[in-house]
C-alpha cells in the first residue's frame, strides 16, 4: 500500500477550479454582477413592493382556479402566507421564493434540452446517466465551494449550487417521458412523413408532458431544499433565519423559519402538481 503515494485528487480539483475561475473570469463577473443585480431587483424592487394583502389574494385566487374551484388549497395558501407575514418573515419569504424561481427556471431551461438529447441518443444517455447520479449523490454542501470560488457570496452562488443539485430530475424525467411514448405512435408519426422536429413537438413532447412536469416538480422541490444550505454562503431568505437560529441555539426562531419553508414547499408543490394535466385523458 505504501508503494503508491497519495494521489493528489484534491490538488487536481483545486487547480482545475482555479483555472476555470481565471479563464472564465469575465463571464463569471458578468453573471455575478448583472445577473446578481437582476435577481436583487426582482426580489426587492418587484416582489417586496407588492402589498402583502394583494400578493396573498392573488395567490388565493390562482389556487382556487387551478385546484378546480376547491377551497382546501386556497384556504391553506391564504392562511399559510398570512402566518408567515404575521411572523415578520415576509422579506425572507420573498428572497427564498426568488431563489427557488430562478434556480428552477434555469434548471428547466438546461434540463429539458439535455433530456431530449438523452432520449434521442443511446450514447448520450450512457454518458449522462452516471453524471446525473454523481450530481445528485454528491453532498450538496460540496457545490457551495466552487460556487463561492466562481461567484463569491450572495444569491448568485446560491442559485448556481441549487441549479447543479436540482437539474437532474428534469433531465431524467424528460428522457423517460420521451422514451415512454409508445413505439406505435412513433411509427404513426413517421408514416405520415414527419421531420424529427415535427415528431418532437407534435408527438413526443406533448405525450411526455405529464412525466416532464413531474420531473419539474421534483426539481422545484430540490431547489427549495437547497435554500437552507445556500444561505450558508450568504443567500438571503428563510434559510438564513434558520442558520441564525442554529448559531444562537434559538430553537423558536429556527422552527418558525423552518415552518415558513414547509408552507412555501407545500404551496409550490400543489401548484405545480395541479398545473400538470394532460389533454385527452
Amino acid at each position: 500500500m505504501e508503494l503508491i503515494p497519495k494521489i493528489p485528487v484534491a490538488e487536481w480539483v483545486s487547480s482545475f477550479t482555479d483555472w476555470v475561475t481565471d479563464t472564465f473570469e469575465p463571464l463569471f463577473d458578468f453573471i455575478k454582477n448583472d445577473f446578481g443585480d437582476f435577481i436583487e431587483m426582482f426580489a426587492e424592487d418587484w416582489l417586496m413592493n407588492i402589498p402583502i394583502w394583494l400578493f396573498i389574494v392573488v395567490v388565493g385566487v390562482i389556487a382556487f382556479f387551478i385546484s378546480g374551484k376547491k377551497l382546501g388549497l386556497t384556504a391553506f395558501s391564504v392562511v399559510g402566507l398570512w402566518f408567515i407575514s404575521n411572523q415578520e418573515l415576509w422579506e425572507e419569504l420573498m428572497n427564498t421564493f426568488t431563489l427557488v424561481i430562478f434556480a428552477s427556471l434555469i434548471s428547466v431551461v438546461i434540463g429539458v434540452p439535455f433530456g431530449i438529447w438523452m432520449a434521442k441518443s443511446r450514447t448520450v444517455e450512457k454518458i449522462l446517466t452516471p453524471i446525473l447520479d454523481f450530481m445528485q449523490t454528491m453532498p450538496a454542501f460540496v457545490y457551495l465551494i466552487p460556487a463561492v470560488a466562481f461567484f463569491s457570496i450572495g444569491m448568485v452562488p446560491g442559485v448556481a449550487a441549487s441549479v447543479i443539485f436540482a437539474t437532474p430530475p428534469t433531465v431524467r424525467f424528460t428522457n423517460l417521458g420521451i422514451r415512454q411514448v409508445s413505439h406505435e405512435l412513433i411509427e404513426a408519426s413517421d408514416s405520415f412523413g414527419t421531420t424529427n422536429t415535427q415528431k418532437l413537438f407534435k408527438v413526443q413532447l406533448p405525450m411526455a408532458k405529464k412525466t416532464i412536469m413531474a420531473g419539474i416538480n421534483q426539481t422545484v422541490m430540490l431547489a427549495l431544499s437547497m435554500v437552507v444550505i445556500a444561505s450558508m454562503i450568504g443567500a438571503k431568505g428563510l434559510g438564513q433565519t434558520v442558520i441564525t437560529g442554529l448559531q444562537r441555539a434559538d430553537v423558536g426562531t429556527g422552527f418558525v423559519a423552518g415552518l415558513g419553508i414547509v408552507i412555501l414547499a407545500i404551496i409550490i408543490d400543489r401548484f405545480t402538481q395541479n398545473l400538470n394535466t394532460q389533454r385527452g385523458e
Binding site: 405520415f192 412523413g193 407534435k202 406533448p206
Partner: protein, 400 residues
C-alpha cells in the same frame, strides 16, 4: 406498371445480416440461421406486385413476417436487401427527404392498435398528415372533416380518442389515413383488434369506400376469412417467405403446397366459392331443332330426369321433365314448347355457395347458372355438398 413493386426484399434482424443473407442464399431455414448467427429472418426474399386500385392482402400467422413486410414497404423498417418501387421509384435507395415526401403524398398507414394521438382531438388526429405537410389550418380542417364524415364520424370531431369505442377509434385511424388522399393505403391488421361483429362491419365499409375511392390497398391480416373476404389477391406468408400469391379462389382451390392446403382446410367455403366453381357442363336440347324424341334419348343416355331447353345462342328457355317427354313421345307430339316448364331456378356465375345452398335443397331439377340469360352450366345437389366438404372442384366449370 404496378404501383407497388417489391423485389427480393429481405430483412434480417441482428448484427450479422451479411452472413445471414449468405445462408439464406444457400437455402438454410429460418431456424438454422437463428442457430448459426443468432439473427432472425424477418422477411425472406419477398417479391410481388400490386396493381393500381387493387386490394392486395398479405396473410400469415403471427411471426410469419407480414407486419415486417408492410413496414418495409414504407421503410419504417430498413430493408437488408432488395427493392421497393413505389410508382417506379426505389424507396430503399431514397434519402430521408424524398422518403418523407413519398410518405406524405403517396402512402398512408392504418395501425392495428389504432395509434391515435391521445392528446389530440378526433379532428386534430385526422388532420395530422396534412398539418405535417404544412397545409394551412382552414384547408386541412376542411379535408379532415370530409374524411371523418366519410367514415361516419362527423359528429365527434371535438372528442378525444379515449372517449371513443375501439371501432370508432379505428374509423378515426382510417379517416386520418384518407385525409391525405394517398395513392396507397397500408393497413396493418387494421381490424384485428376489433370484436367480430364490428370487424365485419368495418370490412363491409372498407369495401364500400373502396368502390368509390379506388385506392390501392395493401392489407395485412392473420385472419384467412378476412383475407378471402376483402382481397382481390392474397399473398400467403410463412417464416418470412411468400408461399403463394393468388386470387382467393386460386388459393382455396389450388393450394400451392401442404402448408397452404392445411391453412385453408377450415375455411368456410360457402362464402368464398361461387356458382362458377361448382357448375357442370349442361346437357341441353335445342328448342328449334329438337323434339321430345331427341330429348328423351339424351336423358336416357346421361341418366337424367330433366333437361334444359335452349336455343342456338344458348339462351335459356326452360326445362322438360322425363315423365312429360315420355308422355309426349307416346302421344306423338312434336313440339317441346308444349311440355316445357319455365319455373327455372337461376343463379349468376358469382352467386355464393351459401345462397345456392338455400335454393337447391328442395329444387326438383339442377339449378341453372346463367350469364345474360345464356346458360353457362348447371349445379347438382351433390356438387354443392362435395365442394363444401373440400373435395376437388373444377375451377373453370365448363371448359367450353
Amino acid at each position: 406498371m404496378p404501383i407497388i413493386q417489391v423485389e427480393n426484399l429481405s430483412k434480417i434482424f441482428g448484427k450479422q445480416a451479411k452472413k445471414a443473407t449468405k445462408y439464406l442464399d444457400e437455402g438454410l431455414s429460418k431456424e438454422e440461421i437463428l442457430e448459426k448467427t443468432g439473427n432472425t429472418v424477418g422477411v425472406n426474399r419477398a417479391s410481388f406486385n400490386v396493381e393500381e386500385g387493387e386490394i392486395f392482402v398479405i396473410m400469415g400467422l403471427s411471426g410469419s413476417g407480414k407486419s415486417t413486410l408492410v413496414r418495409l414497404v414504407n421503410r419504417l423498417i430498413e430493408p437488408t436487401e432488395g427493392s421497393v418501387y413505389i410508382d417506379g421509384q426505389d424507396l430503399a435507395k431514397m434519402d430521408s427527404k424524398s422518403l418523407r415526401e413519398v410518405r406524405r403524398e403517396k402512402l398512408s398507414m392504418v395501425f392495428q392498435r389504432f395509434a391515435l394521438f391521445p392528446h389530440r382531438t378526433i379532428l386534430e388526429n385526422a388532420e395530422f398528415g396534412l398539418e405535417v405537410q404544412g397545409i394551412d389550418k382552414e384547408e386541412r380542417q376542411k379535408k379532415a372533416r370530409e374524411s371523418l364524415e366519410m367514415v361516419g364520424l362527423g359528429g365527434y370531431i371535438n372528442q378525444f380518442p379515449s372517449q371513443l369505442s375501439g371501432g370508432m377509434q379505428q374509423r378515426v385511424g382510417l379517416a386520418r389515413a384518407l385525409a391525405n388522399d394517398p395513392e396507397i393505403l397500408l393497413m396493418d391488421e387494421a381490424f384485428s383488434a376489433l370484436d367480430p361483429l364490428i370487424r365485419k362491419e368495418m370490412q363491409d365499409e372498407l369495401l364500400e369506400l373502396q368502390e368509390s375511392m379506388q385506392k390501392t390497398i395493401l392489407f395485412i391480416t392473420h385472419d384467412l376469412d378476412e383475407a378471402l373476404r376483402i382481397g382481390d389477391r392474397i399473398a400467403l406468408m410463412k417464416d418470412g417467405k411468400i408461399v403463394q400469391i393468388g386470387t382467393p379462389e386460386e388459393i382455396l382451390v389450388n393450394p400451392a403446397n401442404d402448408y397452404v392446403e392445411k391453412f385453408v382446410e377450415d375455411v368456410d367455403r360457402s362464402k368464398v366459392l361461387t356458382a362458377e366453381h361448382i357448375m357442370k357442363r349442361p346437357e341441353t336440347v335445342d328448342i328449334e331443332k329438337h323434339g321430345p324424341r331427341t330429348a328423351l334419348e339424351r336423358m336416357r343416355k346421361e341418366g337424367l330426369s330433366s333437361i334444359y331447353v335452349t336455343d342456338a345462342k344458348r339462351k335459356l328457355h326452360g326445362y322438360v321433365m322425363a315423365d312429360d317427354v315420355a308422355e309426349a313421345v307416346k302421344n306423338d307430339k312434336k313440339d317441346l314448347k308444349d311440355i316445357m316448364r319455365t319455373d327455372i331456378l337461376k343463379v349468376e356465375k358469382d352467386t355464393s355457395m351459401a345462397e345456392i345452398f338455400n335454393l337447391i335443397h328442395d329444387a326438383p331439377v339442377p339449378v341453372a347458372v346463367v350469364e345474360n340469360d345464356r346458360l353457362q352450366g348447371i349445379i347438382v345437389r351433390g356438387a354443392v355438398i362435395a365442394a363444401l366438404a373440400g373435395n376437388e372442384v373444377n375451377l373453370n366449370g365448363i371448359d367450353s
